[in-house]
Symmetry: C2
Subunit: 582 residues, 2 copies
């Protein structure tokens, strides 16, 4: 037996007992006649003591030869510490070691195994197994486990059944790119890895499973943006005989449960906002509502005043930055530079200082008088001491730009408190979105999303205006879940495929099984999928999903630890009926 | 709202209340003036009643137009049934329908949606979403969910952390064939889908995670034998600072918990048997010990008696078939034909009838007298009324043959009772097994398995005799789990790779990250993996895993429902830098 207890367990009431511990050498303090070692395992740190008077000579010797991250097993008596350490739970005691076995040696690690490490991202990823020894990484993984366990318990209690759907499925050109898997037994044919179990969960509803969930890996072969992973995990859910209201209530329940169980935070009924309202008030379909700085639309009060930049703009819109009047001219210039960066892309920014005496000073005083600016302040909710930032241009573009500025300023002002949780349902998403590249409409959510039934006729006349029974759950400015009520009849589904540019043959080849299923008694159904990686990160008070994934891939989709992807044998290629094209 | 309650919920204490139900039309009995409909959902069946006197005319009409598997929503009053049905929980009541909405039509299903269906395997798989509506299939999936939830709860309570390991990893030629995934962003390179998370779980141990588990899909591109799936699910577990004893005790605890929670069966301490003993007593490393019929080795008492077949055999071995003396000559001849089938491959079978009067009558009376046969009966444990079946030949071959016969006879005799659970640990597996094809030794478990340390020197002189710290958990004649204590030091691992025919370069290329990890303080560790599909099937009292998988593949690895694998676009191939070779 390697241990009788762990390095996190011993307290002063254990004093006098003899214990065996195993773990890693975290730190060594060698005073010659006395050696202290911090022994670490997953559960904590326990101090070991060796001293000339009380420790056998050969053990003292072998303790002197230990190095950082050596794996050792020790036996000894629990004694009271001379100087206690209130910072750790085992700080009252130490182990007077009488036996020491070196279980494994260790080379000096390439970075320090401490909460704050000197290792850069790349090095930590290459030696991820050492990185995981660090408390923050280890705790994130344990935290993730706790979240998934609570999700499973909650949904199971609500009558949901976790069903495993297949990973080797069929490629569909709609949506993002699939990862494919060549079939050896079916020459020239490929499986695809699922981007989501969407069609399978719908078939489970047709199959009468009533309430389904699954915590499941999904795959997307995308050019990776920062903090996207080619494989990611979803909490995938579907319910039959439900309307949107039922789905929202059920998963509001789940989210409240997680906030309560995991964070000890009680949240009242989640607010709801339509997509249109979110875009108007925050320029964003996933607004962070932990703070204000809502958009004030200024067309009425800023146009037709000889300022051509505004007059020619589709939208003039501003936000009030709390306390922003204290910014120096230089700071404001920097802010203007910030919005002009290519990542944001504004052409410029108009600003108004709201002086403490109630007067205004703007960068466009030539065109606007105090009365005008008073109206701007009203529209943006600016108070004395604030700074109003105004952008203008094409509606969607300028909203995105001002939203970026709003988030950046909130970050700088410390308004994005990770310990505050502000969930929000955004509902009534558009059914379709225009794609400039292909010059046609695409499904905004996916092709199985139900349009609002009363708006179906609009599809012919004003497709962009058709709203869907689709919803997102937003938490602290991040979309953590999204779903919809699905189409459940064959005619509507066929019409949607037609609308999205599938020929009947294509629709049949790719989704024939689903269309067929709809003919055998499909119930009304709908669901939602949560991005687990992001949900866990946000609950953990962070926004980088990589920190909550045990073995993440880098931005080129590589696992730098195992060095994958890699070349495969010619023999393997031949069996798969494949040749590499250069 | 589509329903106020479900079709399994209403009892006589609900009589008088008005409810709304949704579900599928299971059965219609139309007497003209009165119609009864069985309405079905996941939770049960509720009888609806429509009658001329009490039901509005238009609802009566529309009820007459319903068909099997239509999806309907009804509102009505719960009333007492005239003739109660004690066979179903809702049998005391029925619903007098006042509102009826047809939610979806249904074509006549291709097979009956009943517990006993007229649909063949192929048809049921093609329309799996209809098959899942059948109670036995639906209940199997719900059962699987219950098992996985209990596994997660139990292991979490024991301090195990579920960590998700990556699906896009690196191909290794050792073991079965990998499924591979071409990388678009890394031309000419491939990911592989994991055959198991073996190396990752070991890295988690190096990373100090201490106790890991994961319920995870694994992939093997094998020529499919009956009841094998290219994708299958493992309960994958690993522990640090453990010896074999710790692992066995932990997972014996899990298995007992499942038997208790899921089946209500209490099992005492699991027996243990070495691999050698299992082979000797049952001819099989996964013996079904629910019944006896143990092997009796007869070399001592059957050789050197002028019967050349036995004299030239490495092993002469028999079993006593309880009550087998009652078999007719014809039945015994059929048994001999059975062992001579190519799937078994015996050349013949010697038998001894144990008469009720204590005398023996054998098929080799020419060579053996009553004294000889008395000794055979002693060795095989045969009693009066039994039949002794004896096979001979090369040891391993004849054991496999007799084991097959033993299982077949037990099946016929009804000794394999699915409600009896007889777990067994088989320990001390050989480290290596000889491969005829490549004419060298392969790792029996996998290359990371630790040999018994004291036997390492034997590797040079008698490699086949070296035993490993490897173990299987056997339940009712099926291997449900297998694991080992792993190698945790670089030198031993390098030696094993060398031994298994890896050049140092190959070992480095494929497993360099693991070898490196072993240099930075790897703890002693070991683990186990359970085959979830089989575990669930056996707990469910069945042995066909396909019945416990929502969307299984057929023996050619095809999903006949979605028709995968399939061809992909030329465009997709090009992006992946691939060409199909004919």
């Amino acid at each position: 037996m390697y241990r009788t207890t762990t390095c996190g367990a011993l307290r002063s009431n254990n004093i006098g007992s003899v214990v065996t511990l195993s773990g890693w050498v975290q730190k060594i303090r060698d005073k010659g006649f006395m050696i202290w070692i911090d022994l670490r395992d997953r559960y904590g740190i326990t101090q070991l003591i060796f001293d000339e008077d009380r420790t056998p000579k050969e053990i003292m010797e072998s303790a002197k030869n230990l190095g950082r991250e050596y794996v050792i097993q020790v036996t000894g008596k629990v004694i009271e510490r001379a100087s206690k350490n209130p910072a750790i739970p085992t700080g009252d005691i130490e182990i007077l070691v009488t036996e020491l076995i070196v279980l494994n040696h260790a080379k000096t690690p390439p970075f320090t195994i401490e909460n704050e490490t000197d290792g850069g991202e790349d090095l930590r990823m290459k030696y991820r197994y050492l990185d995981i020894r660090r408390n923050p990484v280890k705790e994130n993984l344990i935290f993730r486990h706790r979240v998934t366990l609570e999700v499973r318990k909650y949904l199971s209690n609500e009558g949901f059944i976790e069903v495993e759907t297949p990973y080797l499925i069929k490629s569909t050109p709609e949506g993002a790119r699939d990862f494919v898997v060549p079939s050896r037994m079916n020459a020239g044919q490929f499986y695809a890895l699922p981007q989501s179990p969407q069609t399978f969960k719908q078939l489970l509803m047709v199959g009468g499973m009533d309430k389904y969930f699954q915590i499941v890996k999904c795959f997307r072969d995308e050019d990776l943006r920062a903090d996207r992973q080619p494989e990611f995990t979803q909490i995938d859910c579907e319910m039959a005989f439900v309307e949107q209201e039922d789905v929202l209530n059920t998963f509001e329940g789940l989210t409240k449960h997680l906030l309560k169980e995991i964070k000890g935070v009680t949240v009242e009924k989640f607010p709801r906002m339509t997509y249109d309202e979110a875009m108007q008030r925050y320029g964003n379909d996933k607004p962070d509502i932990r703070f204000g700085m809502e958009f004030g639309e200024l067309n009425d009060v800023a146009q037709h005043k000889n300022f051509n930049v505004f007059n020619s703009a589709e939208l003039v819109v501003g936000i009030a930055v709390p306390g922003g009047n204290k910014y120096s001219r230089k700071e404001i210039d920097k802010l203007i530079d910030w919005v002009k960066r290519p990542q944001v892309g504004a052409l410029g920014m108009v600003y108004v200082r709201c002086n403490e005496d109630g007067s205004y000073k703007s960068s466009v005083d030539k065109f606007y008088d105090q009365d005008d600016l008073t109206k701007w302040a009203e529209k943006t909710g600016a108070n004395a001491g604030d700074l109003i930032c105004v952008l203008s241009g094409e509606k969607d573009t300028v909203r995105a730009q001002l939203s970026a500025l709003r988030m950046e300023l909130a970050e700088r002002l410390g308004l994005r408190n990770p310990n505050v949780f502000a969930p929000l349902w955004v509902v009534d998403f558009p059914l379709l979105e225009w794609d400039e590249e292909t010059q046609r409409y695409h499904a905004m959510h996916h092709p199985f999303t139900s349009p609002k039934p009363e708006q179906i006729p609009l599809l012919k006349t004003n497709p962009g205006a058709v709203k869907a029974n689709a919803y997102d759950l937003v938490l602290n400015g991040n979309e953590i879940g999204g779903g919809s009520i699905r189409i459940h009849n064959k005619q509507t589904q066929a019409m949607m495929f037609d609308y999205l540019g599938f020929t009947p043959e294509e629709a049949k080849e790719q989704f024939g099984f689903l269309m067929n299923a709809f003919e055998y008694g499909a119930p009304p159904h709908g669901g939602i999928a949560f991005g687990l990686d992001r949900l866990v990160a946000i609950l953990g008070g962070q926004e980088t999903i990589r920190d909550f994934i045990a073995f993440p891939k880098n931005n080129s989709g590589r696992d730098v630890m195992i060095d994958a992807p890699a070349k495969i044998d010619q023999e393997q290629l031949k069996e798969l009926h494949l040749k590499i094209e250069n």
